[in-house]
Assembly symmetry: D3
Homo-oligomer: 249 residues x 6
């Protein structure tokens, strides 16, 4: 029995509020249970040095926990003067995952900055960041998508969810209390056509078997599929643009 | 005529949502027009080194703009590895202002950390931070205030507002558009009994006269008084504790 | 009775030595009682990125306490790897104050760097910095002022002084001992024609009334006027250039 | 056909030289093809603050590329003043993986520092680091393992390998040239009893299917098993201690 | 013929003003030609961690160029957030040189901090720093030297001078203009009894012969001897304490 | 009698392995007794800003101790976020010494980066770095030396050795144990024609006499001459290019 009464393969309530910020090209507040992340997408009309002149764009992400998003206050990284290893790991994951469904050539020489700022952390902040950032990204890309004869630069839907092995059972979408007890912690990032973009499973307390991996992947896959259905509702007519050509790679 | 149709001495709509965060001892979302700041107050059971063993507490503040709170994205300070001079200046102001109404001895050897994170910036973020942080502070202090025979460690109400000289007229509560055109920019922090805790006026574009200063102080005073009335409503019965002994210094 | 026998509205002895450094375009040693600050002005033939191509100049300031300018040694900021919040706050004030009397358009696309290094600190280092930096600035501006048919880029005199509420009395030009006991601490920056450029009053220990504010402003105003008289003596014939057109804004 | 003539499921030649350094409690040079990593394990008789007094130990890792380990010189992180996100991500992976087979309670209040310094980088530096660090760790742990009646604090063997999808084929142990062309890049960390400790698969250029994941896992599993056989040879009689109790969790 | 008319073995005018600062335990302004360095010595009643409990003291130095001590403004190290390699090299030299004549055991568990801040730089700032810091050190040590039956913790005089090979001639005490043309640049630190504490010669533009080295050492030795005579005058009766036991090692 | 049975003027066994790294333009592993340093030379087709457009090149060095090169682990500078003063001092010495024999004009507008990474430290790491880096430099320069009618940009051989005063005797090539007991520590960098490029002698524990200096220089000179003979063997036919024109400055 889970602490909040959910089934093992049951997601927490999820809610995405689009256009949450006034200035950003795309922005959402995503709430997954008590986890709340503000995701903003900014279009910048230039690319990092290593891409200059190559005719393609870039997507990069930054992630931060607000100091009091957590149970005990965590020191502000700007005050410490550096980002933690955890922050680096997470923001690299978010950027990588989003690039997996963006057609960087169609984007042109532009950078999309994704900012994921965690307002409240109750487990699953990195997967909520990916899921929310995807919607912000679509809105931002749409703001510069003027020539409908060209492919829409976002090729497929993308969402992420955590899965874990808790009390010998594979469980979907762990809250903080479950996460801290989990034997194995896994994050699954998948696309609208059911393919994987990133799979990360870690048995910090104990190794895990192939069967357990398969089981976790399976409920993760169901979870992502459900979230992508919700994303489509949230995007409304705009969903059609993303879906139009499928994942053409 | 102001850009949003207000009178010169008219505040923007203000709204404070208490208990905005699940874990913090005190937290509010304050909205002043389009400016939105998340203020959290954390109780830490120790004091900085310079106060150790002296039997009194401390209040300190940190301030940050989320990268996309502004019209164009501002670089994340944690990524740059240092806080800007502007951030330092503002967070020192917030801490100083709050300490002006806190009875540090009554607080005991505790630090209250105030985190002001700007979600959306449309002028007046530092004064909104002071006004919102005050409510978060009262809630946090109340969470440790167990012996009602002792004075409540917050001695008086506190709020802040900006005033400026725009188009030769003194105006209350500038939005970003007015702020960037203002000849003189002023911030007024006052208490419930009408005294001043901090007054800062700057004529970066041009000096100003004593008469202009007096005029700005006067509408600033009205503005703060109105905000404090709203703060009392927001705090409800808890307002009585703050008001009980007035400002006893 | 003040610790050094002064009247409440009496300045400490002030002395400004021009051309203190061999290489700087302008430089002074300013001594106010035991406070000694070395102010240097450097002309750089370019502007910061945000002003490039806009045909106007910039004035910016840096401030530092030498490690043993203070009673106990303070850690060298270069060794720590960052400047304190206090340093940021002060150097922003100095830059802002000077820009208040400089005609940035007349300056052309140049930056004037003001370096204020405190040799000895006995209260009032930020106001002494403003007062001394003004003279260094005038000398530096004069070194590039070749076409007398154009307006001199410094439009008016500028000086600053501290005022405080100590033992219930408003006092001018606090030394360190008074400053650390002051209930309210105020800095006033004014021009030669008696207008204000910056007013900052803080009641960290206790709020203050409008009457107290008026009283402090009044003796601050007298103090600045006296200092500006001294500045004119110090500048000699060069004072005429600054005064020629008054404050034309 | 692979660039170096290997079969898709063939490892590059691997060589581990134990006791490579004179001072470290454990150290190896691991060579996997042209990739060379120096792994050192240091025993420190204390734990990080968050574990103080809890009676258990910690294993943590640091990773660095020597500036000229790569084709073009990469800037020295110590000179830049910060570690890259890639470095953070890798050293977190190494520490996590090793902790997966260490009995932290049996270790007692000690920290084992793992330093992985890449002398030459030709793909697979993170997996070579895990594989080599494991041997250094066993030697270091053995240096403090005096009471044979207690369990040896390393519970099972551990090795890692990369797998990738290149030219539509799953390939084992990618060299740099293959790695930069790979559609999917995967790292597999497994134990001596065939369980997984960490699985990370990323489709940065394109998503991947469950069948491809299974295929990559399968050859990764074979690869790790072969490496662990080699590790046993390298450790000689010491291998028995690790194997004695199997993975008892 | 030298630019300022000196003989090859002639020093620039030197002047040391003791008790230059009000708060420091020892402080001097040293002027050597146009080079001016402010040296302060601070006594701290503790030692760095590596000496804790060993019953001896430490002497350490910090060095800095004020931004406008040089012909063109040099960026403030505190603003950049790090000290340059040159600064590190010089402050290590100063600390090492002074430790060469201090009886660290007689000092007891104290640290003497030496701050050398260059007000104006016209060549020879590091050697002027050593020469001036020595006087500040003696004053500071004297302030804690209460038991005259014990040896005075400074065992001998110490001064430094630069020598260089310019236009094929060995020259003493190079000014900036000569320094920048010198083929070989040398710094000599010697004691009152004519022994060497530090010798550093560098032929960055060209190597040099043993004969040239001997020639430079010879005029350096004369220069230091003359400076030490001046130091004795400056210290007056206090010189006797330093000289009392000679260099007893 | 020395700890390892050597005569006072006897070097430790020295071995230089050329082409140690696959990618660098020049690289060696130098072993001097138990001291092992990896030296890499990289050609970069640009110069630092201060040399732009002046038609000459630059040589610069970076130095680092691997964390476990030493008896107790030393903290990784990249993790701390800054290089120590010792590192700065050493890398400046290496760069300066190499520039002493390089014809920067003949190099053209190129920078040669020298990376010296200490694998194992048993005394003399800075002198081993100079000696090894010289060979890497020659190989790197040779890789771009195509027009044999022009002078080879390396004008003479260069090597370095440490000398010290231990137990009242001058000794060559100190190992760590001797180094930590030495009264005087000296480093000598000399060229193939017997001239000096850098001489640094420090009497941190006690000053030293001119006779002692001469004695140390004398055995240092012999040591360097022997090492240069070995360097010639190591370079083989390439030695002829360096030697062809001698040191022509």
């Amino acid at each position: 029995m889970r602490i909040d009464g959910r089934q093992n393969n049951e997601l927490r309530p999820i809610q995405i509020t689009r256009h949450y910020l006034k200035y950003a090209e795309g922005s959402v507040l995503i709430e997954v249970g008590n986890t709340k992340v503000l995701c903003a997408a900014t279009i910048e009309e230039k690319v990092p040095p290593f891409l200059k002149g190559m005719g393609e764009g870039w997507v990069t992400a930054e992630y931060s926990l607000l100091p009091r998003s957590t149970q005990t206050r965590n020191v502000r990284e700007a005050a410490k003067g550096k980002q933690t290893g955890r922050t680096h790991e997470i923001q690299r994951l978010i950027g990588r995952a989003l690039r997996g469904v963006v057609d960087l050539k169609a984007l042109g020489e532009r950078t999309i900055w994704i900012d994921c700022d965690v307002i409240q952390a109750d487990g699953g902040t990195r997967t909520a960041s990916v899921t929310g950032a995807f919607i912000a990204l679509v809105d931002a890309v749409n703001s510069i998508y003027t020539d409908e004869s060209k492919p829409f630069p976002v090729r497929d839907f993308l969402a992420a969810i955590s899965v874990g092995l808790v009390d010998e059972e594979a469980r979907l979408d762990l809250c903080y209390e479950e996460d801290s007890r989990a034997i194995v912690d896994m994050n699954v990032v998948m696309t609208g056509n059911g393919q994987m973009v990133e799979v990360q499973g870690t048995g910090e307390k104990r190794p895990f078997t192939k069967e357990q991996l398969a089981q976790m992947l399976s409920i993760g896959e169901q979870g992502v599929a459900a979230i992508i259905e919700y994303q489509k509702d949230v995007l409304g007519p705009l969903a059609w643009k993303v879906g139009r050509e499928g994942c053409r790679n």
